[in-house]
């Protein structure tokens, strides 16, 4: 493959072009700096002791032997931590009157999941710290374990929280229209119970923190592997009782976040407490083993849903319950993701009658938190699986039944029935685009040929919506978020005419620095090479609401750059007009050169503008013009921007083993204005790879004792290049009406679409047997069971009819 370097320096418009990532040379050369690469003078290293029990009372903790080990600086338990730090915060409260199960960063009296932190050691290095962990003696009194959802909901279930009536943290029902009447009058009702196993984002750089608590100034310097440095600073202030302005959070390169690093973790607090007690900077890196227990788990849900339709395939109602199988305490985002499944379970379809419930249930598992997709992949399972089951029942084409239920482009903005109003879309066009590409790629011939050879090849579909650009701050507050959703950007041109963009967003692999430079270059009319993007430091970068999550960096940060850029450009033109003795209205700026329109000989460069604004102002900076060249913009969107796409998969099932191989995959997609098609493709591919892994391979499996059985890469199976099919991406651009620049988010598209997609392809491959995939991941033994059960019932039906 030949990669042609785009001619960056001579380009006058960057938006929409596949500019190569400015981030890459450093990372590819192995010269990135991740938090574990950071060394602070006098730094010591910590490690965390984790509970081997899923549910137990802590009777005693003896740390004396650990303290006596040479090289150990300090050992703390829950009591030590609770003396100086509050409980771990929760910021999402979508369910009114929800019981909020909070804990300290170290367990104080009781553990509720395997891997819960119970003590921490800080020592000269991590080796000694881990040696010391083995010397801590914890006496547990085991309690009955609530290992899964059924165990948690059983009438006589042991309780995780003694003062609760049961293990349900909260429940919320949304109704829209007249669901009961709709179901009573429907021609067809299809219903299923779907399960998605536990999984997590599994960033290849695990989490990590360095905290330096300076006793003299009472300031806290933090280096943190996070997607949300501003949020982390606010929450550290809340938990530690230190004013926000005395806390600085820096984020070096991030080796993946995937939502997992949006959440705020106990290790940040543990490192802070250890630093305060020892007077030393403390590094606490989550190693790979820790990560399986201590990084937010997600996805774990059961979804019991039914869809009502008329005989012509019109959906008239949807009702059901989304059970969030939460852990032993609430994570930062509480029951947010299972709630979001309910908000998106109608997907792209007009469904006039809804009765949908989220029920958040506590179990003795690790806490539930953010993972790319944030509940929407499970919403997608509900609408995409049910509509295909309905198509089968009604004998309808799978594309036709979808097309029939889309809102038409002129019906936007379209209220989904629960919370979201989709801003814009051409859903049928997108579906048609995907279908035409299936023909072009010859999938139908490949399928027919394979079937003629006796192989089971199927084509799967998934149409998804991705609510992005989270979100209007006041609406987020209204639905229960104790945080905002705006984004702030500072755009500064310096004294020699070069530009720095300061953003509160975090670059975790998406290419944020590249697209921000593209947008700033276009909005100012300067070369991209003149732009530097700075992120990851709360002292120098502005505040962003939320953090880098909810597919918001491109639409919200992008909009703020465009708006700030317009104002700064106007100022440049005013100064340029003064220098050239022209009217600002006659001025233009192209590629960093300001000239009088129609008289290209009369020009100045941004270098001279910088000089006039910062250094030699006399007769050059217009009277009344404020010195310096800086614009700040805060963009709080009036509505979210909803991306969407139609994904298709060609897959083969081995009926004798239950193994599934993925042959080819395509996605037709609309994320509004495409800033950089190469990076959008990268987002789509990465998300799809994660979803395909979740659909077939990845599962955090707990046994009946609440032990996590897949806590290493030998058993938690990430997809590799060997398992992932080729991808083909096609874009249509329907600009977001409420976002300057028309940009919609794209970070989560693949993860939303890809799970139901696999189910659809498998069902199609086995269409003669009538198999319906309802449980993910689809492992070979599970699929073989489905195949054999279908074969038995098929042969019984044959006998019955004979």
């Amino acid at each position: 493959m030949t990669i042609v370097e785009p001619p960056v320096t001579t380009q006058t418009r960057y938006t929409g072009t596949p500019v190569r990532r400015t981030e890459d040379p450093r990372l590819l050369a192995g010269r990135g700096e991740y938090v574990d690469d950071v060394t602070v003078p006098k730094m010591i290293e910590a490690a965390v002791l984790r509970s081997p029990e899923a549910h137990a009372r802590i009777l005693s903790i003896d740390t004396s032997a650990a303290r006596a080990l040479p090289g150990v600086f300090d050992v703390i338990t829950g009591a030590d931590l609770a003396a100086v730090a509050g409980q771990q915060p929760v910021i999402w409260f979508p369910i009114p009157d929800q019981r909020i199960a909070k804990t300290h960063a170290l367990a104080t009296d009781r553990v509720r999941w395997v891997g819960q932190a119970v003590a921490a050691v800080v020592a000269v290095d991590r080796y000694v710290a881990e040696d010391a962990l083995e010397l801590i003696d914890v006496e547990y009194e085991p309690l009955p374990v609530v290992a899964d959802l059924d165990a948690a909901l059983a009438p006589d279930a042991p309780k995780l929280y003694d003062d609760w009536p049961d293990n349900v943290s909260g429940s919320l029902t949304y109704t829209f229209g007249e669901p009961d009447e709709a179901f009573a009058a429907a021609d067809v009702v299809v219903k299923e119970s779907f399960n998605h196993g536990r999984a997590f984002g599994c960033p290849l750089e695990p989490r990590g923190a360095i905290v330096d608590w300076d006793a003299f100034s009472d300031t806290i310097d933090v280096w943190l592997s996070t997607q949300a440095p501003n949020l982390a600073r606010d929450l550290l202030s809340e938990v530690l009782g230190v004013p926000v302005h005395k806390i600085r959070v820096r984020t070096p390169n991030l080796g993946g976040g995937f939502g997992n690093k949006f959440d705020f973790y106990g290790e940040e607090v543990i490192a802070a407490v250890l630093s305060r007690r020892t007077g030393r900077p403390v590094k606490l890196i989550e190693d790979r083993r820790d990560s399986f227990f201590a990084t937010s788990h997600s996805r774990d849900q059961r979804l019991d849903f039914e869809m009502a339709l008329t005989n012509d395939g019109t959906i008239v109602g949807l009702r059901g319950i989304s059970y969030g199988v939460l852990g032993g305490a609430l994570g930062t985002v509480g029951s947010g993701p299972p709630w979001a499944s309910v908000l998106t379970c109608m997907g792209p379809y007009k469904i006039p009658n809804l009765d949908v419930t989220v029920k958040a249930v506590m179990t003795n598992r690790s806490p539930y938190g953010s993972y790319r997709g944030w509940g929407v992949p499970k919403g997608n399972i509900v609408h995409e699986r049910l509509i295909e089951i309905a198509a089968r029942e009604l004998g309808m084409d799978r594309a036709e039944i979808r097309r029939k239920n889309f809102p038409a482009p002129e019906e936007f903005p379209h209220f989904s029935g629960v919370a979201f109003t989709y801003d814009s879309g051409r859903y049928a066009d997108c579906l048609d685009l995907a279908m035409s590409k299936i023909e072009e790629l010859g999938w139908r011939e490949r399928q027919a040929q394979a079937r003629a050879e006796g192989r089971s090849v199927g084509i799967g579909y998934s149409f998804h919506v991705e609510p992005s650009a989270y979100g209007p701050s006041r609406i987020l507050n209204l639905v229960g978020l104790a945080h905002s959703g705006f984004d702030e950007v500072t755009l500064r041109m310096d004294s020699i005419g070069k530009v720095t963009v300061y953003s509160g967003q975090i670059n975790m692999g998406q290419g944020t620095h590249t697209i921000y430079a593209q947008l700033a270059a276009d909005s100012l009319g300067v070369p991209m090479d003149d732009i530097v993007v700075v992120t990851g430091d709360t002292d120098s970068c502005p505040y962003t609401g939320y953090g880098t999550g909810g597919s918001r960096a491109a639409p919200l940060g992008g909009a703020a750059i465009i708006r700030a850029g317009e104002r700064l450009r106007a100022k440049l033109l005013r100064i340029g007009a003064q220098l050239l003795e022209a009217s600002p209205d006659d001025m233009e700026i192209v590629d960093g050169v300001l000239s009088v329109r129609g008289a290209p000989g009369r020009s100045v460069t941004t270098r001279e503008i910088g000089d006039a604004a910062y250094r030699r102002l006399l007769d050059r900076l217009p009277e009344g013009e404020m010195p310096t060249l800086e614009e700040v913009d805060v963009f709080d969107p009036p509505n979210m921007a909803t991306s969407y796409g139609c994904t298709a998969l060609l897959a083969e099932v081995d009926r004798e083993t239950g193994m599934v191989s993925l042959i080819d995959c395509l996605q037709a997609h609309d994320c509004g204005t495409v800033i950089n098609p190469m990076l959008v493709d990268g987002q789509l591919a990465g998300g799809l790879a994660q979803a395909l892994g979740g659909a077939l391979l990845e599962e955090l499996i707990y046994d009946d004792e609440g032990q996590l059985r897949t806590a290493s890469f030998m058993d938690y199976l990430l997809p590799t290049a060997m398992e992932i099919p080729p991808f083909h991406f096609y874009h249509q651009e329907t600009p977001a009406p409420d976002i300057p620049g028309g940009i919609k988010g794209v970070g989560e598209a693949g993860t939303i679409a890809g799970v139901s997609l696999v189910g659809s392809a498998i069902d199609d491959a086995l269409s003669d047997l009538g198999v319906t995939v309802t449980r993910f991941p689809v492992t070979p033994p599970r699929l073989l069971d489905l195949i054999r059960a279908a074969q038995i019932s098929a042969s019984q039906a044959k006998e019955g009819s004979a």
């Binding site: 030998m714 199976l717 590799t720 398992e723 070979p780 033994p781």
Partner: protein, 291 residues
């Protein structure tokens, strides 16, 4: 994931390794390619007091044919064996099997002896050696001895070697020209430990009847299993589809699989039979009858 404190000693040759093992007792461990031992130490599941490094012990990495057998030194890297013409010529099953062992980077460091000494019942090399009736060369304070594979693998991670013995190599009977071989492995991903793997080597006489058949499976018991029952069904008869089915049907009775997070025992049992059938079909297709 830092290992507990451990002492390190380098052995210049096998005799020195044996002496060090004798000196340090059963808490000492021999370090070869480290592809299993080091992760186990990082998990603190293995905590040897001393590592005896034999990476620089001379003369342990040979790959040669000797008296009709292929002899591979314990320290031969798996990748070197995989790409060795000598190994492929004598035992064409070897490169095929090795391609399923981890990934190339693992095989660059991983050694043949390391895998055989580690004795993971899901691993491919122990099954190959067992299936082909190989012998293990073991050296201890009292000298060297040869142990037949089926006497060597005693259980999961357990072999017939004494604590003061070092595995120095393996001897595999050379397969006659025209032998068809096949490996069938069912793994969740390429390079993972097998859920079940089967291997077949089959040779046909001029009249089309089977005059040599070797069948083995991994992932189906606490030790790698040679499928004698299935071999007996095929020996001396024409390998028809019915004969293959009859051989495959004996497999379930010769194995004792256990379940884990990836597959229950019943699934493994079923798959062992299926994969024996598939391996036999492919191996038979690949046989060449001498003209």
């Amino acid at each position: 994931m830092k290992p507990p404190p451990v002492k390190y000693a380098r052995a210049g040759d096998v005799a020195e390794a044996v002496a060090l093992l004798t000196e340090h007792g059963s808490d000492a461990k021999v370090l070869a390619g480290g592809q299993s031992l080091i992760p186990l130490m990082n998990f603190r599941l293995a905590r040897p007091s001393v590592l005896i490094d034999i990476n620089r012990a001379a003369g342990l990495d040979g790959i040669r044919v000797e008296n009709g057998s292929l002899v591979i030194g314990a320290m031969a890297r798996q990748r070197d064996v995989e790409t060795s013409d000598v190994a492929a010529g004598a035992v064409p099953l070897l490169p095929q099997v090795l391609r399923h062992v981890g990934h190339v980077t693992n095989r660059n460091r991983g050694t043949v002896g390391g895998s055989l000494a580690h004795a993971d019942p899901a691993a491919e090399l122990p099954a190959l050696v067992t299936g082909l009736g190989g012998e293990l060369l073991v050296q201890g304070p009292g000298g060297s001895r040869l142990v037949a594979a089926e006497d060597y693998f005693l259980g999961t991670f357990t072999t017939a070697m004494e604590f003061d013995e070092v595995l120095t190599g393996v001897r595999l009977p050379r397969l006659p020209a025209g032998t068809g071989v096949a490996v069938e492995e069912l793994a969740r991903r390429h390079g993972d430990f097998a859920i079940v793997a089967t291997m077949a080597a089959i040779h046909l006489a001029a009249d089309g009847t089977v005059d040599l058949v070797r069948l083995a499976a991994s992932g189906v018991a606490s030790v790698p299993v040679r499928l004698h029952g299935a071999e007996a069904v095929l020996a001396g008869i024409a390998p028809t589809a019915e004969a293959i089915d009859a051989a495959a049907e004996t497999v379930a009775g010769s194995i004792k699989p256990t379940g884990d997070v990836h597959a229950p025992a019943d699934y493994r049992r079923d798959m062992a039979g299926l994969l024996v059938r598939r391996a036999l079909r492919t191996a038979i297709q690949r046989t060449e009858v001498a003209a």
